[in-house]
């Protein structure tokens, strides 16, 4: 009996370790953040892009309206790619597109809008990236679909036609 305990427990321990590692094989090694989050939008104070005046978040986002908050920057190359899509979205006029200018030089940002057009209803500035952290953002570009002061969904990385179609479906 005594002799059997040792091999038996060794087998069990290896069994447990094998089981854990075997289960781990199926897990994705790439971290994927949760994008379907129903969260209240954060409260913050910032400056308006063109006038430089102080604005409160509560005056930008109203209840009962759908918004798309787009974090962009003139130095961000994928932002350039998604910009025409935002322009198209703006033409359909169902959605208010709000811009968050992320860690940018204002001159460069203005030139960017002159060159590619301005799809944004309002733009505010995030000079040190701290407001983006308040939103739980990872970087540029990133978009948040907002309804009734709640984040419905977030899109990390540039938008594409598929995602734009999805947004159109969601706000119907």
């Amino acid at each position: 009996m005594k002799n059997k305990i040792l091999p038996f427990s060794v087998i069990i321990i290896f069994g447990i370790i094998f089981f854990i590692f075997y289960k781990g094989l199926d897990d994705s090694k790439i971290y994927t953040p949760d994008v379907n989050i129903k969260k209240e939008i954060p409260v913050f104070n910032t400056k308006e892009f063109f006038s430089g005046e102080n604005v409160k978040s509560s005056s930008i986002f109203e209840l009962d309206k759908a918004y798309l908050l787009n974090i962009w920057s003139s130095w961000c190359v994928p932002c350039r790619q998604e910009h025409p899509l935002l322009m198209n979205l703006n033409l359909e006029n169902k959605l208010n597109i709000i811009g968050m200018n992320y860690k940018d030089n204002l001159k460069n940002a203005e030139n960017f809008l002159k060159e590619l057009g301005n799809p944004y209803k309002e733009i505010f500035i995030d000079l040190d990236g701290t407001i983006a952290i308040e939103w739980g953002a990872y970087g540029v570009p990133e978009s948040f679909l907002i309804y009734n002061n709640e984040i419905i969904k977030k899109y990390i990385g540039p938008l594409n036609q598929e995602l734009v179609d999805e947004i159109n479906l969601l706000i119907k």
Partner: protein, 120 residues
């Protein structure tokens, strides 16, 4: 007189520098325990990415607002989820991680007890 001035300066500056050092220590400790989500295998403290730099500023702000270390972790957890913390809490996803070492220790102890002490 010069010596007196020198000592005066040292006395005035000394407590300030130690306070700053304390705050820096706290900040470093917190940022070392936060995962830089857009870098691979780096903490916020180690990384120099845009994301990590902004996070460091937010940690500084929260410390100045008088939040404790745990409150700051809680704040980031609500924003980015459990994954941002290097030190995971005990919940249904991590209980194996926490309990397995204890279990192995107990089984090992039992084997040693059985085979050596009982024999005697």
């Amino acid at each position: 007189m010069k010596l007196l001035k020198f000592f005066l300066i040292v006395i005035i500056l000394f407590p300030l520098s130690s306070i700053n050092a304390e705050e820096d220590d706290k900040r470093n400790k917190i940022t070392k325990n936060l995962r830089c989500l857009i870098c691979q295998g780096q903490s916020v403290y180690d990384s120099d990415s845009e994301f990590a730099n902004s996070l460091k500023i937010v940690v500084d702000k929260k410390l100045q607002e008088g939040l404790s270390e745990d409150q700051i972790y809680e704040y980031f957890k609500t924003k980015y989820g459990e994954w941002i913390l290097y030190d995971p809490g005990l919940n249904k996803n991590t209980y194996i991680l926490w309990l397995l070492p204890i279990l192995i220790f107990l089984i090992g102890g039992a084997i040693i007890y059985k085979s050596f002490i009982v024999k005697k």
